[in-house]
């Protein structure tokens, strides 16, 4: 599994979604459940942290197709 801190918000969010589905299925071993639960919680925290730090980046596309901070 990927290092959680390197995941983008969308990646973390999607994995969290998948983990919830897996846990809901109830077909996991106890150890798998606990491992997934721990990871799910960390993913949720990671998502919240990304949201806390998010700052809108504003760029401009010029005529030549270059993107520069506005």
């Amino acid at each position: 599994m990927n290092n959680i801190n390197e995941l983008s918000f969308e990646q973390a969010y999607q994995e969290l979604d998948e983990i919830v589905s897996k846990l809901e299925s109830g077909e996991l071993t106890l150890e798998e459940s606990v491992t997934l639960f721990e990871r799910g919680r960390k993913l949720a925290e990671h998502c919240q942290a990304i949201l806390d730090q998010a700052e809108l980046r504003v760029n401009q596309l010029n005529d030549s197709g270059d993107i520069q901070p506005l």
Binding site: F9, E10, Y13, L16, I19, V20, L23, E24, G26, L28, L30, S33, V34, F37, G40, R41, A44, C47, Q48, I50, L51, A54, E55, L56, R57, V58, N59, Q60, L61, D63, G65, I67, L70
Partner: protein, 410 residues
């Protein structure tokens, strides 16, 4: 002679016929200022057109209102087209309008209607053509003027709702003759040079002439051709442009376009909190289920435990033991009874018992040999007679002498 008297309905019918047969009243444009504008929940519009001296009641059915490019507001100067007829229940004549347009914009309006009909017939407004708006836009392209208030409005909404996004402004003029080619180029550049997930095509409010670039055919076709989904937010809520019909989603204003393009951060935070809580309860439920299953298994295991078998065996052994002791006791008792009866029999057969019945045990005194035959003791032999309570000593006599002696005596 009687006057011919008409009923109200008869005279109303007559007047209606006059209206219906008048060519002007059946195809007329009327100019006036809108008042008493009402949008009924049925979709019909009711309003009054007035000038300084007169007013005219107007109604536009839903079948026509849905095709109009602007919703009239009180105070708007309008030209309305339709036929004038009588509304019999109130005895009022009114304009049944099928088209409205701003005053003095007859040419622009006709051009608008022509282009709208043309693009409609090409299928450019079809719902099937509309692309889905992504739920989480990574990058948001904005086509507008960087100096316009609309651009700052959009940025404010995005900062508040979804600062995760990256904004790429593709600047353009939004009014004037240069605006259409610049808007087309700005849309195309976002398509070719960036990987934005959504484009906001926006302009703040203005007159219908100010918004006219968004009724340009080349702009409409550029919107339709865009690989990236486009949300249009042009002017105010009541303004409709051709671009609004072609875009994938029409927002009433630029700020609204920014809102439609993004999820609300607060909603996401809330959702994340709920998911975390949900994760905890799900895991707890599963642990609880596993614990219950374990307890059930332990009970089953206990039920099949060898301890019980051992206990059963032990009991069986106890039973056997008890039966054995009981059986032995009975047997001994039986033996004891048998022994007593034998002992009695033995006693009954003992010499002493015989002596006590009057018999005597005879032995020779000299050698103690038992005398059981007359040959054992010749006359003159000393014998001992053992009786039940002692002995007698005697001597055997000669039988013949004894006989003589008896005869002598008797």
């Amino acid at each position: 002679m009687f006057e011919k008297v008409k009923s109200v309905s008869e005279i109303t019918d007559h007047i209606t016929t006059l209206f219906e047969n008048d060519p002007l009243l059946n195809d007329v444009w009327v100019q006036g200022e809108v008042s008493n504008m009402t949008q009924a929940s049925s979709g019909h519009w009711y309003f009054t057109l007035k000038d300084n001296d007169s007013q005219l009641r107007c109604v536009m059915w839903r079948s026509a209102t849905s095709r109009q490019s602007t919703i009239p507001k009180n105070g708007d100067a309008l030209e309305a087209h339709g036929k004038i007829s009588l509304y019999a229940p109130r005895g009022e004549y009114q304009l049944y309008a099928d088209l409205i347009r701003p005053v003095g914009l007859g040419d622009l309006f006709q051009a608008f209607e022509r282009l709208k009909a043309k693009l409609y017939n090409e299928g450019l407004f079809e719902n099937e053509r509309k692309r889905p708006i992504p739920a989480f836009p990574h990058k948001i392209g904005i086509v507008t003027s960087p100096t316009a208030a609309a651009f700052q409005d959009i940025l404010n909404v995005l900062r508040r709702r979804f600062p995760l996004a990256e904004v790429i402004l593709s600047p353009t003029q939004v009014q004037g003759v240069d605006a259409p080619p610049q808007i087309v180029s700005a849309i195309e550049r976002l398509n070719t040079s960036t990987d934005v997930d959504i484009i906001l095509l926006c302009r703040g409010g203005g007159s219908i002439e100010d918004l006219w670039a968004f009724n340009d055919e080349t702009v409409a076709r550029a919107v339709a051709a865009s690989r990236i989904p486009i949300i249009s937010g042009v002017g105010h809520e009541t303004d409709f442009t051709i671009v609004d019909f072609v875009s994938d989603l029409r927002a009433p204003t630029p700020s609204a376009a920014a809102e439609l393009a993004t999820p609300d951060l607060e909603d996401i935070r809330q959702e994340l909190r709920q998911v975390t809580t949900y994760l905890i309860t799900t895991l707890q439920t599963q642990l609880e289920n596993k614990r219950t299953a374990l307890l059930r298994l332990m009970r089953d295991l206990q039920y099949h435990s060898p301890e019980i078998t051992i206990r059963n065996h032990r009991q069986r052994i106890d039973d056997l033991n008890e039966r054995m002791v009981k059986a032995s006791y009975n047997h001994l008792k039986l033996l004891s009874i048998q022994l007593q009866s034998k002992s009695a029999a033995l006693h009954a057969a003992s010499p002493q018992a015989i002596l006590s019945r009057g018999y005597a045990l005879v032995t020779r005194t000299e050698d103690g040999k038992r005398v059981t035959s007359e040959l054992d003791a010749q006359p003159g032999t000393g014998i001992t007679l053992q009786l039940k309570d002692g002995e007698l000593k005697a001597r055997v006599e000669d039988k013949n002498i004894h006989e003589q002696y008896k005869r002598t005596l008797f």
